[in-house]
Subunit: 271 residues, 2 copies
């Protein structure tokens, strides 16, 4: 089974009314497209994050009426991260539904682009602040906001999914604990949240050294195959999966079992 969404370029930067209409239409279009293939495809909802109560209702609607498996949120909403209590109704709803939120990258806020990524050609600036580097750091920072604001102390069963082998977080995972619980006032070490409240997918990062870093930090139970199709090659992702330096049991977990468990997909009903 594949899980699809129609959220790019995202509703997060739109006016609230416009975002609501667009999310609703995109979700209905996706549900309609999938309804003839219920054992083959499932959906993640687009959400109008600027209106969190409505976003939570939309998430619930798509789950209850169309069997969607969670939501995709494309990063910050005009510079505000999901750790802002304003957005917590969405997080509360996701925990209540026992379904994850996929945190998709977006460009960093404009002041970050200007301070960190400016002065190159337009295409280099776009890629350096985007798919080449900045996207990933931005998403990692977003996850750290969720952790450090205590989102996972408030919603301890909430699961966030991030792509790109963990967006740099595995490289820094042990270092992050230089901020101890006495400093953060959290219930657990920062590394514990990254091992217990986050799942990780490939998203075209078919890089063995990067995968090993992730594997050795979070274990095979937290890693899920994905291909980033159509942006990246399904064939390459499949070859990468086939050659991962893991046991055959862990390969099965990574290939589908972890996703089935997280998304509540029954194997009997999938093809």
């Amino acid at each position: 089974m594949q899980v699809l969404s129609l959220t790019s370029p995202g509703t997060e930067q739109l006016e609230a009314d416009e975002a609501m209409v667009l999310a609703h239409e995109a979700n209905d279009f996706l549900a309609d497209s999938l309804k003839n293939y219920p054992t083959r495809f499932a959906g993640f909802s687009a959400l109008p994050t600027a209106t969190p109560d409505k976003a939570a209702k939309e998430l619930e609607r798509m789950v209850r009426q169309h069997g969607f498996k969670g939501a995709v949120i494309n990063g910050h909403n005009r510079g505000r991260y999901l750790d802002d209590r304003f957005f917590w109704p969405i997080l509360e709803c996701a925990q209540a539904l026992n379904l994850p939120i996929y945190l998709h990258p977006t460009q960093p806020p404009r002041p970050v682009i200007e301070a960190s990524y400016a002065g190159f050609s337009p295409i280099v600036m776009e890629m350096l602040s985007g798919a080449g580097w900045g996207w990933h750091i931005e998403t990692a920072i977003h996850v750290l906001h969720l952790v450090l604001r205590g989102v996972f102390d408030q919603y301890p069963r909430l699961q966030i999914v991030i792509g790109h082998m963990g967006e740099g977080l595995p490289f820094m995972l042990q270092r992050l604990d230089v901020m101890p619980m006495a400093m953060t006032k959290l219930n657990r070490p920062i590394s514990a949240y990254l091992r217990e409240n986050v799942h990780y997918t490939f998203s075209g990062f078919n890089f063995t050294p990067t995968f090993l870093n992730l594997l050795l930090q979070v274990g095979a139970d937290r890693i899920m195959f994905s291909a980033d199709y159509p942006y990246a090659s399904m064939e390459e992702a499949r070859r990468f999966l086939d050659h991962l330096p893991v046991s055959s049991a862990d390969r099965e977990r990574i290939a589908h079992e972890n996703a089935e468990s997280l998304l509540g997909i029954s194997r009997e009903t999938t093809t």
Copy 2:
């Protein structure tokens, strides 16, 4: 042999005149402290980067008169990165002397802190934008500036040293090549500069998964032991070195041979 510097908190954020005086005094103090232990210790120069011609002269003075082995620069100068042509006299001098520049982390520019790291307690903000995370990303971004501006096309023998197992760059190394040479207008792929113009040290990142990521991306010839003493434990760093999953030949390279080669240290004269 150990290589020391007296640059923290750095002269990069001072007025130019003040920075020149402070760097000069710090370097002389260090040279004086080391002169009785020429086979045991060596120095890296502090540099007044706000006045690049004077900084280059200071670097040359410390090398020629006191046998210093390079320089430490603590990141951006009030938001300007070393890729700015204003600073190139320093880089040109380092290449001419055949000695490296150690790029030490610093806090990101203020707009980045406000956009990405604000809203937590003062100590969490400081650590999140500093030694817990932001330092490392900031330093990686600095290196990417050097690469993308063509610094290493202009100075192909220039070597930069970065700490903390590569400041996140190894995790992203293959991804960075989504910016191909046709886009960057550089002579080599981005990953090539990270493998040929950068050396990497531990700096207290005694984390095996992170080390393996670095090792598998750049190879044992580019990695150098360091302990970040007195901030981190020399004993722990030594134990980590002893247990690295590498051959004994590679352990020797990492322990001292790579540093001797990079810094022009003759083994006969060291203890």
